[in-house]
Each structure stands twice: as structure tokens, then as C-alpha cells.
């Protein structure tokens, strides 16, 4: 079965092992160690780490299209945000009549705007299964339509980057409008519970953290099984010589579309897990700058290396947390400098650096360069 293939790869085994150990360690340190102890992990930190994990999943999604397919999407924040909104709408409906205005059906902002009924696209979001399906379907559908239009007319390279950026920008402007029915400027917030669990309790927060870890592991395995398959090799072939791949008889645009949609869905899942952990979703997630930042995580971690994307996402966001706390003004300098530094001096990213060091040590090709022979065979 193609989905189980990654479990035979050493890099995937190591990655899953490290991820599992990290998640268990955080859980144990949070639950078993008394507060005040130097090893204690606070609830706040658990939430923060959970957020990093969703970002890591988002980075993996971006790496799938950029690293292996050569499509630099500057609009993946949009898929992330749409997944987040789908989750946010479910959480809004879960508030029920406990909102400020006490309306059993309408969310507060609609009451505030004097709306008398629920817009049609909010129907069904009171049911968890429907909302969770939408987390996948909504971003997937947008990616399908957008990608179908773009790949069919062979819009690639820089042009595609620019129009994906325009797409997320247009969505940001749209979601800022109150008339759209997604809470406008303020977005969706004041959530109370998810599947009956109180979102403010520590246990739920820990549960969400673990769920994020599981989602990341699953996303990683899905991506790994795609890039390790013959389809993954078609992607790489497309990335490096698109015309040649066509002449071999592959319908390149369909492969691009397939991978693009899978990636958008993963981004949607990341967004859906992100929202209950930060407690809000608003149009700023559509900001083109956020989408470019995601690309930086991937670039820093190492393009075309999925674990590199995870490393990059965690590193940059940890740095962001530290910097914005200590010297907020310096953060944009650091971020900007990082962009320049990575592209000029570290084109292979941290993963490339690791691979290089490893090769020096045992003088054999790393598996990020050439897929395992056992896996191919």
C-alpha cells in the first residue's frame, strides 16, 4: 500500500520518533511536574507549542508544492485561513445563546449588524461533522478552481506566485467587509467549547496540542508517501523540466492540480487546529505578508525536505516569540535579514546543511537527495 511506504524510510521513522517523544515529553512535563519546578511546562507554553505544530503542518503543505512541484504559492495563508474560518464558524455556532446578545442562533456580530437570519453559507456549521468536512472541502475547492484555471493555461513560475498573492489579497479585502458575513474586521472569536470540551480548560488545551502533533504526523506521512511514489518523481520532473515531462506523456497540469489541492487541504487542517488554540480567526491571516513568511520557514528549513519545513517553522516562530517579547522593533529587521541570508547563503536551508554535515561524516548520499533504494524497489 502506497500510504505505508514511508514507514520503511529511515528519515520518516526518525521524524516520527522525535515528534512522538517531544509530544509525550511535553505532556508529561505539563501534567506530572509541579508548577514552579524548572522543568514544568505551563499551559501557556503548551498552547504556544500547539500553535507551532499547526504552523509546521502548514509549512509541510507549502513545501509539498514548492519543494517538489516548483510552484511558489504566495497564497497558502488563504487556505490556512479558510480552514480556520470553517472551524471558527463551527465554534461560533457552539456558543449558542451564551453570547452577549443571547441569540440562540445568530452569532453576536450578526445581531450587532441587525441581521435577522443566518446567511445560507452558515447552515450546517452547527454540526461538527459538517464543519470538519468543510475544513477540507472549502480550501480544497478554492485550490481546485484556482489551480484548474491557472495550470490549464500554464501559468507557472513567478506569474503564479504573483496571482496567488493577488488571490489572498483579494480574499483579505473581501473578508474585511462586514457584508461578507464572516465578522468583518474582528473576525470570529469568544469561542467557548469544541465538541463539548471547554476551550478555556487546561485539559482541552493539552488535547489540542496532542491533536496538532497527530495531525502533523499524519500530514507528514501523507506528503512523504506522495513524494516517495512515482507521482512524487513526476512532480520533481515537472519542477525541473516541465516541457520534457509533457513529452513523456504526463498531463502535467493534472498532477500539479492534484498536489496543489492536497496541499491546500493540509493547510486547511492546520488552520482549523490553529483557531481553537489561539481563540480567534480574523482577516489578517489572509495578509500576503503572512503567506510569504510561511515560504521563509520552508526556505530556512530546507526546500524539498519535509522535515526541514518543520524545523524551519518551529525555529522562525520560536525566534518570533522571543524577539517580539524582548525587542519588538528588531523583529522585522531580523526577519528581513533572515530572508536575505537564507536565499543568498543557505539555499538548501538547515536540512541541506544537516545533509551536508552527515555526508561529510559517513560519506554517503543522504536520503533527502536520493530516495531510499528499498523504498523505490
Amino acid at each position: 500500500m502506497w500510504l505505508t511506504r514511508p514507514f520503511n524510510e529511515r528519515s520518516t521513522q526518525i521524524f516520527l520518533l522525535i515528534l512522538t517523544v517531544a509530544v509525550i515529553a511535553v505532556t508529561v512535563l505539563h501534567l506530572a511536574v509541579p508548577a514552579g519546578h524548572p522543568l514544568y511546562v505551563s499551559g501557556y507554553t503548551v498552547g504556544l507549542l500547539g500553535k507551532y505544530l499547526t504552523y509546521a503542518l502548514l509549512a509541510v503543505a507549502v513545501d509539498l508544492v514548492w519543494g517538489y512541484l516548483g510552484i511558489l504559492s504566495l497564497g497558502h495563508g488563504a487556505f490556512f485561513a479558510i480552514g480556520g474560518y470553517a472551524m471558527g464558524m463551527y465554534l461560533m455556532r457552539q456558543i449558542g445563546d451564551r453570547g452577549t446578545y443571547g441569540d440562540p442562533i445568530l452569532p453576536d456580530f450578526m445581531v450587532f449588524l441587525n441581521w435577522d437570519s443566518l446567511p445560507w453559507f452558515w447552515y450546517g456549521f452547527d454540526m461538527a461533522w459538517f464543519a470538519f468536512a468543510m475544513v477540507l472541502i472549502a480550501p480544497g475547492l478554492l485550490a481546485l478552481v484556482f489551480g484548474w484555471l491557472a495550470f490549464r493555461s500554464r501559468v507557472t513560475g513567478v506569474y503564479l506566485s504573483i496571482i496567488t498573492q493577488a488571490m489572498t489579497f483579494a480574499l483579505m479585502l473581501a473578508f474585511f467587509r462586514n457584508e461578507m458575513g464572516f465578522g468583518g474586521n474582528n473576525g470570529l472569536t469568544d469561542f467557548r467549547e469544541l465538541l463539548g470540551f471547554d476551550l478555556r480548560s487546561g485539559a482541552t488545551r493539552l488535547g489540542l496540542f496532542i491533536a496538532s502533533g497527530v495531525a502533523l504526523a499524519l500530514g507528514y506521512v501523507v506528503c512523504r508517501s506522495i513524494v516517495g511514489s512515482k507521482l512524487g518523481r513526476v512532480c520533481v520532473a515537472t519542477r525541473d523540466a516541465e516541457a520534457r515531462t509533457r513529452f513523456l506523456g504526463y498531463r502535467v497540469e493534472r498532477f500539479q492540480l492534484f498536489v496543489f489541492v492536497v496541499s491546500a487541504m493540509l493547510a486547511g487542517v492546520a488552520g482549523a487546529l490553529y483557531v481553537p488554540q489561539v481563540g480567534i480567526i480574523n482577516p489578517s491571516e489572509f495578509d500576503p505578508i503572512f503567506s510569504i513568511e510561511i515560504v521563509l520557514w520552508v526556505a530556512l528549513g530546507g526546500r524539498a525536505s519535509l522535515y526541514g519545513a518543520v524545523i524551519g517553522a518551529v525555529l522562525v516562530n520560536y525566534a518570533k516569540t522571543v524577539f517580539t517579547g524582548v525587542m519588538p522593533d528588531a523583529w522585522l529587521f531580523a526577519l528581513g535579514g533572515l530572508f536575505v541570508f537564507v536565499t543568498v547563503f543557505l539555499p538548501q536551508g538547515v536540512a541541506g546543511l544537516l545533509g551536508h554535515l552527515k555526508r561529510r561524516r559517513d560519506d554517503e548520499p543522504s536520503d533527502s537527495e536520493t530516495p531510499d533504494k528499498e523504498a523505490t524497489a
Binding site: 491557472a150 506569474y159 493577488a166 488571490m167 522585522l332 529587521f333 536565499t343
Partner: protein, 541 residues
């Protein structure tokens, strides 16, 4: 969500009625005081508690044809005509700073200096008097003003003519040398006649764009005389037609103006991206630097905003060009042939430049002064006036564009740039120094961004985020127009500007922008190489 808060009837109607009443009362005793040519006495008459008496006094001043009559009336209208408590001397307040008021003598106009506000008595007026004053000032100006002032005065009279003014105005019209002023006066009188129920007056008013004329005609449609109603309705329809044309012209003007901004912002990018193939995400920040250069120039030359603005044109070009060259040499040259990496690196630079401006100058917006010769507007007719600053920017954009076309077509640099673009290795082997050409091209594109910044400083706020707002639009314009084609950029920018303005009235600004973005995204799918694509083997790349 906004509720339109326009409604003219309740405000206008009572004013006109009171106006008529007061005027009727006011005109009788004028002969007595008019013989006195003593200004002091004219003003003394104003210092009374009764507003009716004040009204008489105002009439007297008008009839006196005193040389400072217009000054007094204006000062009275602005509540600047005051009286010193101790000497009883009439003064006009020029400037108020706290308790201190700078005043001049009302009789002679000589400066007196500062006095305390406590030492002054203000001559108060009410709304009815204000209305009378405005119409009176018009009359006074009509007699002794310059042509522009007379025209302005005549316009103000439309809809505000009182019975007593009819005769002097008719006389004035016969003497008036300027046809334009005569036309206005004729309209003013016609509105008066229409209000009296005169059908023939409608003919004079037909096609006029003045809002007071429309008010009068609208009122006439409520008249009891069916002839008047018919005539007024037809005239209104004519006016509506005329207004539509003017509105279309205004939309076109705003569209071209917005388009010129887009062209300015994008044309530098058309060079660096279109010709060199370099994606410079810091282009917006180069625009921002141009705008800040204008601000800095005005700080260096306080009191001379116009000169500073003109000097800012070369300075803005140089600053942005130098920064651009620094970016090219420092980063972009190491990323040749890797467009996506170039995009990311230059985005990093854009973050750094923005934060630099925030840290060094201020995170807040700076004010750039608009010089006098650029402010105000060109009045075409009552419904259409074109703001001058936008017109200057439009002209500037066209000049910059023409300049670039000349450089690319007719200079050695342009030739070399085109050669390097088409075949880098071949060009090198023919002795063209490709590196030098790269630097020059990038400097040119960046410098033009600086010019865009100088122009933008006259239209929008100058702040650290200025550039960010234009970068996506600029890329859209370049891609829409067809990469590598300056004319395409011009056409694309202008048409996007116009499309946006046409959509705005019924879709709102934000939705219009979204529609335009979606339109471009779809357009690129249909024609990936833009409006004016390059054809042939070279374009296949």
C-alpha cells in the same frame, strides 16, 4: 451601513422665507442714511441690539458704495467685526491666539496690533442676517470686484435674489462687460422669476448645472400652474442628461488620475521585472523612499514647499536609484536565474527598509505640503471641477513615461538593455558590459520608483506602509499589460484605473478593488502573457 444624511428642503425653505421678509422690512429707510458718507456712522448703526435695525444698517452700507463696504460685510459675516470697549473704535480681528487678538482698524485698514479679547465687543448676527450678508456681499462684489470675483458673486446670487435686488441687478446686467457674468446674472434673475411663477424663465435655466437652479426647478414642478410644471420637468430632464455627461467625465478623470498613479508605480517595475526579469518586491519601498525624500526636502527648505517639491524630483530619483543599485549589487546579482529566490530576498529587504523608516523617522505618517500652485481645482462648470494636484500627477506620469520610451528607444543604454535582454551571452561577446547594463537598468527602474514616490506624496499619506499598498497593484499592472512592454503597462494602468472608478459608485471602493483583482486573475488565465505579449521563439524562453 451608512445612512445618507442629505436633504436640502428643510434647511433651505425657511431661510428663503425669512430672507424675503427681512428684505421687505429693510429696504424702506435706506435713503436717510445713505446720504451720510461717513463710515463711522454706517458702522455705528450696526451696533444695535435689534436684528431688524442691523439689517437696515447692512442695507445702508451696501447703498453707500463705501470703498471698504465689502471688507466690513465680510468681517461681519465672519464675526470678525468688533468694537474696542474703551475707545469705541471699530476693528477687524485678523488672528486669534488664546486671549490675544490681532486687529486692524476697520476704517483705514491700518494694523493696530494685539489686544485682549476681553477689551472687545463682538457685533453679533443671526442666520437671517448671515443670509442677507452673503447676498449683499455678492452685490457689492458685483459692483467693484475683479471679473473672477464678479463671476463668483453672480453664481452665489443664483437662488438668493430678493425682490429689491431685481432692479439693480437688471441694471448691472446691462452694464456688465463680461458675457459669463451676464449669463450668471441672467440665470439668477430667471430663478427669481421662476419662483414668481414665470414660465418663460425656464428657458433660460434649461441645461444649467447649478444646484440652486435645480432646487428652483424642482420646486417649480410642485407648482399649481401646469405650464410651469411641464416646462420645469422638461428642463430638469435636460439637466439630468447634462449632469450624466459631466459625471461620466468626472469618473473618467478620476480613473485617469488613479491610472496615472498605477502607471507611475508600475512603470519602474516594468523595467526591472519586464526587461531584466528581476522580481523586486522592495519596489514599493523604493516608492516610499521617494515620498520621504519629498518630505525631507520640505524640511530642509521650510516655507518653500513648491521649490522643495521640484528639487525632490531629481533628489527622489537619485535616492531610490542609489538604494536600488545597492540592492542589485548587494543581493540580486547573487541570485541570477533564480527568480523565486530573488522574490523572497527582496521581500526581506522591503521589510528591513520599512522598519528602518519606522525606527529612524517615525512610525506615524508625515505631512507633505502641497504647494499653492498645485492646490485648488480647475472649475469646468458647476458640476465638474478637476483637482489640480491630480492633473499635475497625470501630466507628470505621462512625461515620465515618454521619457522612458525615449531612453529605451533612442539611447545607447536602451539599445544595450534590449540587446542584453534578448541574448545575454551574444551581447557580451559583442563588447557590451552586461554587468554595467544591469546596474544602469536597475538604477533607472528604481529611480522611476522614486519619482512615483514624489508624485504620490501629493496624493496620499506618506508613511512606512506607503509602498506596501502599491506593490501588488504594480505587479498586476505589469502582468496585465504584458511583461516587457512599456506601452502595455501604460494601457493596463490607465484601463485598470478607469475600470476601478467605473465600478466604485455601485460596488463601493473595496468591492471594486476585489472585482478588479479577480478580473486580472481570470484574465491572466486566458492570456498568460498579458494584453500585449511578446511573440515568437524568444518569448518561449
Amino acid at each position: 451601513m451608512r445612512i445618507p444624511c442629505y436633504s436640502w428642503t428643510p434647511r433651505v425653505m425657511p431661510r428663503i422665507v425669512t430672507c424675503l421678509l427681512i428684505s421687505l422690512l429693510a429696504w424702506f429707510p435706506m435713503a436717510v442714511q445713505a446720504q451720510e458718507d461717513d463710515g463711522q456712522a454706517l458702522l455705528e448703526a450696526l451696533d444695535t441690539r435689534s436684528f431688524d435695525d442691523k439689517s437696515d444698517a447692512i442695507t445702508a452700507i451696501i447703498e453707500s458704495e463705501h470703498e471698504r463696504a465689502d471688507v466690513w460685510l465680510q468681517a461681519l459675516l465672519d464675526s470678525d467685526l468688533q468694537r474696542l470697549k474703551d475707545s469705541g473704535r471699530f476693528v477687524i480681528a485678523l488672528e486669534t491666539a488664546g486671549l490675544d487678538v490681532t486687529v486692524e482698524d476697520a476704517m483705514t485698514g491700518e494694523a493696530i496690533g494685539e489686544v485682549s479679547r476681553r477689551d472687545l465687543d463682538r457685533l453679533t448676527i443671526n442666520n437671517a442676517l448671515r443670509s442677507q450678508l452673503r447676498s449683499a456681499i455678492s452685490l457689492v462684489e458685483l459692483y467693484n470686484g475683479e471679473q473672477d470675483a464678479r463671476l463668483d458673486a453672480a453664481r452665489r446670487l443664483i437662488g438668493n435674489v430678493e425682490e429689491e435686488q431685481v432692479e439693480p441687478l437688471t441694471n448691472r446686467m446691462a452694464e456688465e462687460p463680461s458675457a459669463a457674468v451676464r449669463h450668471r446674472l441672467n440665470q439668477a434673475l430667471a430663478v427669481y422669476r421662476l419662483n414668481q411663477g414665470d414660465v418663460e424663465a425656464v428657458e433660460v435655466l434649461s441645461g444649467s448645472l447649478n444646484s440652486n437652479v435645480r432646487v428652483a426647478l424642482n420646486r417649480a414642478t410642485q407648482s399649481e400652474d401646469p405650464l410651469v410644471v411641464d416646462a420645469a420637468t422638461t428642463a430638469l430632464a435636460d439637466i439630468e442628461q447634462n449632469l450624466k455627461i459631466n459625471r461620466a467625465a468626472e469618473t473618467l478623470y478620476f480613473g485617469l488620475s488613479m491610472g496615472s498613479v498605477l502607471v507611475l508605480a508600475a512603470i519602474g517595475l516594468a523595467i526591472t521585472f519586464g526587461v531584466m526579469g528581476v522580481i523586486n518586491m522592495a519596489h514599493g519601498e523604493l516608492i516610499m523612499l521617494g515620498a520621504y525624500t519629498t518630505w525631507a526636502m520640505q524640511q530642509l527648505l521650510p516655507g518653500q514647499p513648491g521649490l522643495a517639491l521640484i528639487l525632490a524630483i531629481p533628489a527622489g530619483f537619485m535616492v531610490s536609484a542609489l538604494v536600488g543599485v545597492a540592492i542589485e549589487r548587494g543581493v540580486i546579482q547573487f541570485l541570477k536565474g533564480r527568480p523565486l529566490e530573488t522574490l523572497l530576498a527582496t521581500f526581506g529587504i522591503s521589510l528591513i527598509l520599512q522598519q528602518l523608516v519606522r525606527t529612524v523617522i517615525s512610525p506615524l505618517n508625515r505631512t507633505v505640503i502641497t504647494p499653492e500652485w498645485m492646490s485648488g481645482s480647475l472649475v469646468v462648470n458647476d458640476a465638474l471641477s478637476l483637482t489640480l494636484n491630480r492633473m499635475y500627477v497625470l501630466g507628470f506620469a505621462l512625461v515620465v513615461f515618454a521619457g522612458l520610451i525615449l531612453i529605451m528607444r533612442h539611447t545607447r543604454l536602451g539599445l544595450e538593455v534590449r540587446a542584453v535582454t534578448q541574448n545575454r551571452n551574444m551581447a557580451r561577446s559583442m563588447g557590451i558590459r552586461a554587468t554595467r547594463v544591469d546596474i544602469m537598468t536597475f538604477a533607472l527602474g528604481s529611480g522611476v520608483a522614486g519619482l512615483a514616490g514624489v508624485a504620490l506624496s501629493q496624493l496620499t499619506n506618506v508613511g512606512p506602509n506607503l509602498g506596501q499598498n502599491y506593490i501588488i497593484d504594480s505587479f498586476m499592472v505589469v502582468v496585465f499589460g504584458g511583461v516587457g512592454n512599456l506601452w502595455g503597462t501604460l494601457v493596463a494602468g490607465m484601463s485598470l484605473g478607469i475600470i476601478n472608478q467605473v465600478l466604485e459608485p455601485w460596488a463601493g471602493a473595496v468591492l471594486a478593488k476585489i472585482i478588479v483583482l479577480v478580473f486580472i486573475i481570470l484574465f491572466i488565465q486566458k492570456r498568460p502573457r498579458g494584453l500585449f505579449p511578446q511573440k515568437g521563439r524568444a518569448a518561449e524562453g
